[in-house]
Subunit: 203 residues, 2 copies
């Protein structure tokens, strides 16, 4: 059985680890790269290496950033009396693309999950409560994904926030999204509608 040249085999192995890329696609991509110029392939390789070296988390909302604060937290035009809580920074980006929202965000870093053993202490929940306590918030929008884990995380947050002194209003984005779906894959119109149709959370 023929083996590929070692560097080719190595790259195919690395590409196969990416989501949605199987052995066949990995081969196609590797051969595509082989057929490109040294410069073009170098650009991609350097971009991959720069990614983790240059990007960290916003010290306030845990969005990705190259500085201390992310572009949204640094933007004086954003309404800092509303925090939208999301699981991942990619969800934040999806909401930004909807163009519907002018407040700020808080990235949890995931959702509670007994199965995957993700506990409240594994998420940026304490930091969220600290932000709510420090600032005079009008509203906290829970925009976790409409999955079992996302819903449970939202309900857990609602209960925690309700126990704070002078708690802000807590809302949940409307289920315009298909239940069980992934927020990051929703289209912009659906996301915009689900933000507009958000409802007050009550115990």
């Amino acid at each position: 059985m023929l083996k590929y040249a070692l560097p080719l085999q190595k790259l195919i192995g690395e590409l196969e680890k990416l989501p949605g890329i199987g052995p066949k696609s990995a081969q196609r991509l590797a051969f595509f790269l082989l057929s490109r110029s040294d410069d073009e392939v170098g650009e991609l390789g350097l971009a991959v290496l720069a990614l983790k070296a240059e990007i960290g988390l916003c010290s306030r909302c845990h969005n990705y950033t190259t500085g201390d604060l992310c572009p949204i937290c640094e933007d004086p035009g954003r309404d800092i009396s509303v925090i939208c809580v999301v699981e991942q920074a990619s969800d934040l980006m999806a909401l930004e693309r909807s163009g519907e929202y002018e407040g700020v965000y808080h990235v949890l870093g995931g959702a509670l999950s007994p199965v995957a053993d993700i506990k409240p202490s594994d998420l940026y929940i304490a930091e969220l409560l600290e932000r709510i306590r420090e600032m005079r918030l009008r509203e906290v929008i829970i925009a976790t994904s409409p999955t079992v884990e996302g819903d449970a995380t939202g309900e857990y947050l609602r209960q925690l926030i309700a126990q704070l002194p002078e708690p802000p209003q807590v809302t949940r984005i409307a289920l315009g999204l298909p239940v069980g779906g992934d927020l990051d894959y929703a289209d912009q119109v659906t996301l915009a509608r689900s933000l507009r149709g958000r409802t007050k959370m009550e115990g």
Copy 2:
């Protein structure tokens, strides 16, 4: 409109240049990489960079190799009286996966195309004729893709080879492949059948 952090934007731009990866997939991949460890992402980046630095073309058949000759040309078990002519090294790999072929290869580097302005001098055709002249070949198998360009290239080669002194037999892999399809995407069984069913080329 929100911009991604610059290194993220750069990587998304580079990923979008890959075949079969649109803006949405590029974003997903970039965010996936952001969520991985520094080591994992480093491995991918280095594998991409090593690719072009370490891989060159076999001096005999123009397959990819890290040495002077590719593993197939170096293999004493291969039948050097048969040369299978393919457009790309990825086609060669597809044929190898079929496990049907024991001869050697010649990679043309593409197919003749008036539209893309690819002329005989842009392909390794002179090198193929030189190899045929130097060696006592039984057979040349034309395994260019069953497209207009691939068929035209095959017919052009057949005519050239027929003009050589003591020309070897020239065959064409059978059209078990769907016409207009891409050789690299064919399954192994279909490829094996099309090799077995190859037919003699006559003017």
